[in-house]
């Protein structure tokens, strides 16, 4: 129906050539190195000898590593869900309820993220510390009578992840919501739907591409996160990002690290493709 079409054309080739060149050279070729490394053998002091040692992949099936991978997925899913629940109302507010100030408000969402995550993590340690604002407020309001362990807990890690990834949900949601023709909303309401019904039956479904995009952009990088579990979790929450980092650095096992990374990529991309094809593709592409 649209101006696109099936099959290759000059236009399509033109549109895709920049990304093909760039990602082809600077992502896919390096990725081939990693693939080669994953079948190689790690030197004792790092470095790698190429060869065919698929045992690197078998090493992944160690209960310790599997536990880490499962935990990572659970955290990433929780993070995605929370980002959606917290980010959607804000994206909605900025898109529909802020009038002239839309652009400023979106910029204001991003500005905190132009300061180093390290500094902001240190700030959270202060805020959530024994003597920090959070505890003092709770005690002041007589909700608690002694300082709670708020920081360096699994909950702090989740909070830190949400804090870190909220923009990745808000921006795509905003992009999808903002184009929304509110005459559809008006029409629904003229026909007697309540605000809530209008939202669930009209607005939310039409914003699905944004929801899907935001979920992908939060879930995938969450799985590779390694900074927040260390800074806000006291390094007691080990995620697969920490594991891969450690294999390349402390363990100097590039082969195993590469195998882990390849497996993670295959798993995640597979999951996303499945999700998008099953759930989203009609909504993503339909005109």
């Amino acid at each position: 129906m649209g101006k696109g079409g099936r099959g290759w054309s000059l236009g399509l080739a033109g549109l895709l050539s920049p990304v093909t060149i760039w990602l082809g050279l600077f992502f896919l070729i390096p990725l081939l190195f990693i693939l080669a490394y994953s079948f190689g053998k790690s030197g004792v002091y790092g470095g790698i000898t190429l060869g065919f040692y698929p045992s690197n992949y078998l090493k992944v099936f160690n209960p310790l590593y599997l536990e880490i991978i499962v935990r990572t997925f659970v955290i990433a899913l929780t993070n995605t869900f929370l980002c959606l629940v917290l980010g959607y109302p804000l994206a909605y507010f900025i898109a529909f309820k802020s009038g002239r100030h839309k652009n400023i408000l979106i910029l204001l969402v991003m500005i905190p993220f132009w300061t180093s995550l390290l500094l902001r993590a240190y700030a959270w340690v202060v805020i959530l510390g024994g003597n920090g604002i959070a505890n003092r407020t709770l005690q002041f309001l007589h909700i608690t009578d002694h300082p709670l362990d708020l920081i360096f807990t699994p909950q702090a890690v989740i909070m830190g992840m949400v804090y870190s990834y909220l923009p990745f949900m808000i921006l795509p949601l905003y992009a999808a919501l903002e184009k929304f023709d509110s005459r559809l909303k008006e029409a629904a309401q003229d026909l007697g739907a309540s605000r809530w019904q209008t939202f669930w039956r009209v607005t939310f479904p039409l914003s699905m591409p944004g929801v899907i995009a935001g979920s992908i952009l939060v879930f995938i990088p969450s799985a590779g996160e390694f900074v927040i579990p260390n800074l806000l979790g006291g390094a007691r929450i080990v995620m697969v990002g920490n594991l891969i980092q450690q294999q390349f650095l402390e363990a100097r096992d590039w082969a195993f690290g590469s195998a882990l990374a390849v497996m993670l990529a295959v798993l995640l991309v597979g999951a996303i493709m499945f999700y998008v094809r099953r759930v989203g593709s009609e909504k993503l592409e339909e005109v």
Binding site: S9, G46, L64, G130, N131, D149, A235
Partner: protein
């Protein structure tokens, strides 16, 4: 149908244009030297450009260190930073070059020597090496100082709240004391923390004996519920100062920094063993300004530069000639000036080859449990 073609061509031309511009810009830029501190190529004969590329930890030079060197020698110094020995190694191994002086820790020096990525030092050009105390020369990782000279050294011990806990005896027991539950912080380091368990058990910090490692792992599992977490030393410091922790596993410099403004705190170096570590200056193979590099190394080993360095970093100097100029307030801090008897119980962390992965896995298993 003709409309289809017109869209295609327009899209195509735009895309090609964008791609061509980006591609040609980058290929032109990539083939030119793109930093000001590049030398005119290769070692060997001919005078070196008056430039030095230093690769160091951040906040590990005094404010005066580099400016004074530049004034004295006319050599312009560019300093870049890395945040761990392992990252430094990985970058050098993957082919990252351009640095003239690097500052790796002890065990990393021996790994680098074994991987053949260090340039041997011409000691005839480093006369200030005579300033280095005997205790800091010829350490196991570089027994004849062929590739490295010491830069700063320190210990890894326990910073604790003396006011709250009273003066503690120098052992590792407090870090395993259930009375201090959730008020203990250990280091997030796969050699130091398993090392602490090994020290506590009376073993060598470099053991490869599987039984001993298993025992250490069991100790760490016992300790985990008592911990607030595994932190960087620079995180343990404010947590102890704040009272969020009562005991922190720290590097000595962080302890001294805390002690110099908090009388309630104390630092102890536990028995029967604790780590003594040394950061060193070395020259990577392929360095483009090796002569400038030795000049810099020699400068740091001078008395004045050495003292200025340690007075800023709060870490110990290996430079005996610098000792008289060290801030007396620092010298009085517990654990700064060490008795020979304390020296005896300190161990140096060495590279353990393949067993490194054992330690890494052990630590991951404990953290993850």
């Amino acid at each position: 149908m003709s409309r289809e073609k017109r869209i295609s061509r327009g899209d195509f031309l735009r895309a090609m244009g964008a791609g061509a511009v980006a591609g040609s810009t980058l290929s032109v830029l990539a083939c030119q030297p793109n930093t000001t501190a590049q030398s005119s190529g290769g070692g060997g004969g001919g005078p070196e450009e008056k430039v030095l590329n230093l690769y160091n930890w951040n906040e590990y030079v005094a404010k005066s260190t580099i400016p004074n060197f530049e004034k004295q020698t006319g050599i312009k110094v560019t300093q870049d930073f890395y945040s761990s020995n392992e990252e430094l190694l990985a970058k050098l191994q993957a082919g990252g070059t351009g640095y003239d002086v690097i500052v790796p820790s002890d065990y990393m020096i021996s790994i680098m020597i074994k991987s053949d990525i260090l340039e041997p030092l011409d000691m005839s050009k480093i006369p200030n090496f005579k300033n280095v105390g005997d205790n800091y020369k010829g350490l196991p990782y570089d027994p004849h100082n062929e590739y490295s000279v010491p830069y700063q050294w320190g210990t890894t011990g326990i910073l604790y709240n003396k006011k709250k806990l009273g003066k503690l005896g120098p052992t590792w027991e407090p870090m395993w004391d259930p009375d201090y539950k959730r008020k203990i912080g250990m280091l997030n380091d796969p050699r130091e923390t398993p090392g602490a368990a090994l020290y506590k058990l009376g073993y060598s910090v470099n053991t490869t004996d599987q039984e001993q490692l298993d025992e250490a792992e069991a100790e760490l599992e016992k300790q985990k519920p008592l911990l607030r977490g595994y932190f960087d030393s620079t995180q343990n410091r404010p947590l102890v100062i704040n009272g969020d922790l009562w005991l922190g596993h720290v590097f000595s410099g962080d302890a001294f920094l805390a002690l110099s403004s908090n009388e309630d705190l104390d630092y102890l170096i536990p028995k029967p063993g604790a780590t003594r570590w040394t950061d060193n200056m070395a020259i990577p193979k392929g360095a483009e300004h090796p002569d400038n590099a030795v000049k810099f190394i020699n400068y740091i080993l001078g008395a004045k530069a050495g003292a200025a360095l340690s007075n800023y970093t709060y870490y110990n100097t290996p430079n005996e000639a610098a000792l008289p100029m060290i801030d007396p307030a620092l010298k009085k801090l517990p654990g700064y000036t060490l008795d020979p008897s304390v020296f005896e119980r300190l161990q140096v962390i060495e590279d353990v080859g393949k067993a490194t992965r054992e330690y890494a896995d052990l630590f991951t298993a404990v953290k993850s449990s």
